[in-house]
């Protein structure tokens, strides 16, 4: 089965949940969607405070998701089917002023 190479980036303070590392390279099995990626991140990249990233099987409200520079709301949201080379950015829009 082919592997999808996904570039994941965290910004806006979200990187604090990921040992302050902004850029991650993640391999996902072919056929995965955004929901699978979010679950993978929660289970493999986080050791604490998972609920600040994921709530009810999607990202917590207040987190903006960009799929290849486009608003995820324009790309089927959580159901978006990942493609090899996709760049997914998670940005916290809150905390701090």
């Amino acid at each position: 089965m082919a592997t999808l190479h996904i570039d994941v980036e965290f910004g806006g303070g979200m990187e604090l949940l990921f040992k302050n590392v902004r850029e991650h390279k993640i391999d996902m099995p072919e056929g995965s969607n955004l929901k699978d990626l979010i679950t993978y991140i929660r289970d493999n990249l986080m050791t604490a405070k998972q609920d600040l990233f994921v709530m009810n099987d999607t990202v917590r409200p207040g987190i903006l998701v960009l799929i290849n520079e486009a608003d995820w709301e324009l790309c089927d949201g959580i159901e978006y089917k990942l493609e090899d080379g996709d760049r997914i950015i998670f940005i916290s829009t809150l905390h701090g002023g």
């Binding site: 910004g11 806006g12 303070g13 604090l16 949940l17 902004r22 405070k49 609920d51 600040l52 409200p61 207040g62 903006l64 960009l66 520079e69 486009a70 608003d71 709301e73 324009l74 790309c75 089927d76 949201g77 950015i89 940005i91 916290s92 829009t93 809150l94 905390h95 701090g96 002023g97």
Partner: protein, 416 residues
């Protein structure tokens, strides 16, 4: 799916289409059901920022030195960048001079309250390298104590004690905000700034409307959310030019301008705190969650709240020593009426409801302080002058001047 879920207000799943403005390029952003391409989004954002200075643009800018509050978070980072563009356009459009004479960027390093590592240098580097036309002013939060006999370590310790005794997370967050506002106002006045520019977004303002109401700050709410506030502080006007921009808009702007790499990390009490930790956090969770399903939530709250008028009873004389907001007279009686004081008929008064220092503190600050360890000493003393001394001895800062104090004591003497 329930009926509510499929109701007409819930956002329909948008289909990627073309931009509403240029009608040619594919959309990449959706805001309040409207789709924009990247270029039109940026154009709309900078246009909205300029028009936020509105009709009063000239009176608010030309001839004024302004201070921009810069925490280094997403909103104030965007604010700084937008200010640069605003100043630039103003200086290049002949006949349309709409710019401030000078901009001071004030960063308050609040890490002493949390044992964090200093943010001052990071903030200074951002300003000095990217905005060399602006003046950087760094301020340590422990400098709220102006006593020169105190060492920097003493001041930090005093601040930590103040927060340690402040009670709940809600009371601590309120106190932190009052101290920051206090320092901004003091710094602005000291440096001769007549405008103080704050980075409150529409999302932040909607959160404030709900949480301030919950905390009993409804009386002064218009002053806390308005875009152009005169008369709250002597010779200082408060401006909130981001008040019509959603937090999402600001995040997309930051990302598009490459600003997310140079954010100053937030290190306050509620950073990474669970959503139930305080009134502010719970409200934030509520509003942001609602806004995702119903994308008009924030705009509706902001639009409704902006119609609120200040009470005509507000005379500007009686200000709270902690938050500096006007004190609503008679809050003691009102509080006693709505509070279940005791279920036992033998007790005719519960502690804390007998003598409330409403001469020096507003209702909400009384509530915050009632959780602190120094409350009983403050509440038991009937004289406002000694209350004020006691209040200060607890380590709380106050913006009140000697004149304010005399006024306060005069009021007290006339009342009784």
């Amino acid at each position: 799916m329930s009926d509510v879920d499929s109701g007409p207000l819930r956002a329909p799943k948008p289909k990627a289409g073309t931009c509403i403005k240029c009608k040619t390029r594919p959309s990449t952003v959706v805001l309040r059901h409207v789709q924009y391409c990247k270029d039109c989004f940026l154009f709309a954002t900078t246009g909205k920022f300029r028009s936020a200075f509105g009709k009063s643009a000239i009176s608010n800018t030309t001839g004024h030195k302004a201070m921009v509050a810069f925490s280094g978070g997403p909103s104030s980072r965007a604010l700084l960048h937008l200010m640069k563009g605003f100043q630039h356009v103003g200086s290049h459009q002949s006949g349309q001079k709409r710019l401030f004479d000078e901009l001071v960027i004030c960063h308050i390093d609040e890490t002493a309250a949390f044992n964090g590592s200093s943010t001052l240098d990071m903030a200074r580097v951002v300003v000095d390298t990217e905005y060399p036309d602006f003046t950087f002013h760094g301020q340590l939060i422990e400098d709220i104590y102006e006593d020169e006999a105190l060492s920097s370590i003493d001041k930090k310790e005093k601040l930590r004690q103040l927060f340690a005794q402040a009670g709940s997370l809600t009371a601590k967050e309120d106190l932190l905000w009052h101290i920051k506002m206090h320092l901004l106002v003091k710094a602005a006045q000291k440096l001769g700034c007549t405008r103080l520019i704050l980075g409150d977004s529409a999302t932040r303002i909607a959160i404030k409307v709900i949480s301030f109401t919950a905390k009993g700050r409804g009386y002064s709410l218009p002053l806390e959310i308005g875009g152009d506030i005169h008369g709250l502080y002597p010779n200082l006007v408060i401006l909130r030019p981001l008040k019509d921009m959603l937090a999402k808009e600001i995040a997309i702007y930051d990302h598009s301008q490459g600003l997310l790499n140079s954010l100053v990390p937030a290190t306050n009490f509620s950073t990474m705190a669970p959503p139930t930790a305080s009134i502010d956090r719970a409200t934030e969770e509520f509003i942001v969650g609602l806004d995702r399903d119903f994308p008009s939530t924030v705009s509706t709250i902001v639009r409704t709240a902006s119609k609120l008028k200040l009470a005509s009873s507000m005379n500007g004389q009686s200000r709270c020593a902690l938050c500096h907001m006007p004190i609503q007279s008679g809050s003691k009686d009102w509080k006693q009426r709505i509070t279940v004081q005791s279920t036992q008929c033998t007790r005719d008064s519960a502690p804390g409801t007998l003598t409330v220092p409403e001469n020096i503190l507003c209702y909400a600050c009384q509530t915050d302080l009632s959780e602190s360890e120094g409350w009983s000493r403050l509440a038991d003393d009937a004289s406002p002058s000694t209350q004020l001394e006691e209040f200060r001895s607890l380590g709380y800062p106050t913006l009140l001047t000697q004149d304010d104090m005399h006024q306060r004591i005069k009021d007290f003497l006339l009342d009784d």
